[in-house]
């Protein structure tokens, strides 16, 4: 772990966050903002990629840069929780529950599937 790797973590983390910013804007502009679909799409797609990476034989630096930095910054837990809490504030309990259950179920399935694919490669 040298300085260059950590500098790359910083740059990749910024880029991953920007990718999330654009992806959320794109999904929301297509699907609307009645349901936080943007965050769900981002999180599930990130989970499948991280699962795939975990199935590959990566060095610790590769794992840090591609997994922790790139995919980790692309996905978000805090926004998922904020959007859920705001839905319950508006008494949209069904949507809030769906947002939790579907994200979690699809997220685990996506990570498991990606891992399986990665292990076959």
């Amino acid at each position: 772990m040298n300085v260059i790797v950590w500098a790359a973590v910083v740059l990749i983390g910024g880029a991953g966050s920007l990718l999330r910013f654009y992806a959320d804007g794109l999904v929301s502009s297509v699907a609307g903002r009645d349901f936080p679909l943007g965050t769900m799409v981002i999180n599930v797609s990130g989970a499948v990629v991280l699962g795939l990476l975990s199935g590959l034989a990566l060095t610790s630096s590769q794992s840090l840069l591609l997994g922790t930095a790139a995919v980790g910054s692309y996905t978000t837990f805090s926004t998922w929780m904020l959007e859920t809490q705001r839905l319950t504030e508006e008494r949209q309990y069904r949507k809030a529950a769906l947002n939790i259950v579907v994200s979690l179920a699809l997220g685990i399935a996506a990570a498991a599937l990606g891992r399986l694919i990665g292990q076959q490669l």
Partner: protein
């Protein structure tokens, strides 16, 4: 941060957010990205080159948040069947901060082109992670640590939700007292 809005940078001041206009629209979505619905022309003076500022803010905040999360993850490695404290900690802290920032920026401070992208989308988004949490759960399931997997998922969601509730309430209580 817990100060009255008057001592915040006046340079970004455009107008005090009015809860009856587009602020509720943003709040209704709860989406912490800065791509809030653009106000109709004339409702708010366009900020100079907001997109470039937004992009730089998301990048800078995301870089910082990711560095903190990566440093914790590297500094405190754990076995697949141990409680993932680094991920759990950054996620709950990021949720608390996001609830604080977003509520304060939407309901307390004048509209700003870069604060929410910097602090919300960037810092909190980069600090927290969903994918790592899911992979940790999958690894627990692979190790047949069913209780740990269920407990970790439930505790993360319960604590993350509670963190948003508490930080939101803190901002709103301050607001009421100042009024």
């Amino acid at each position: 941060m817990a100060s009255s809005s008057d001592d915040e940078l006046p340079e970004e001041f455009r107008r005090v957010p009015d809860p009856s206009t587009d602020v509720t629209r943003i709040d209704a979505s709860g989406a912490p990205d800065a791509r809030s619905p653009r106000p109709a022309p004339g409702r708010r003076a366009a900020l100079p080159r907001p997109d470039r500022r937004e992009i730089a803010a998301v990048f800078a905040g995301g870089a910082l948040g990711t560095l903190a999360r990566a440093a914790l993850a590297e500094g405190f490695p754990h076995a697949a069947t141990a409680w993932p404290w680094p991920t759990f900690a950054v996620n709950i802290v990021a949720a608390f901060l996001l609830g604080y920032f977003v509520t304060r920026l939407q309901e307390r401070l004048p509209l700003s082109a870069y604060r929410r992208p910097l602090l919300g989308t960037g810092l909190c988004g980069g600090l927290s992670t969903f994918s790592t949490m899911q992979l940790e759960i999958v690894r627990m399931l692979e190790a047949h640590a069913w209780g740990l997997a269920a407990g970790y998922a439930a505790a993360s969601i319960a604590a993350g939700y509670a963190a948003i509730q508490v930080s939101t309430a803190i901002v709103r209580r301050v607001r009421v007292r100042i009024r």
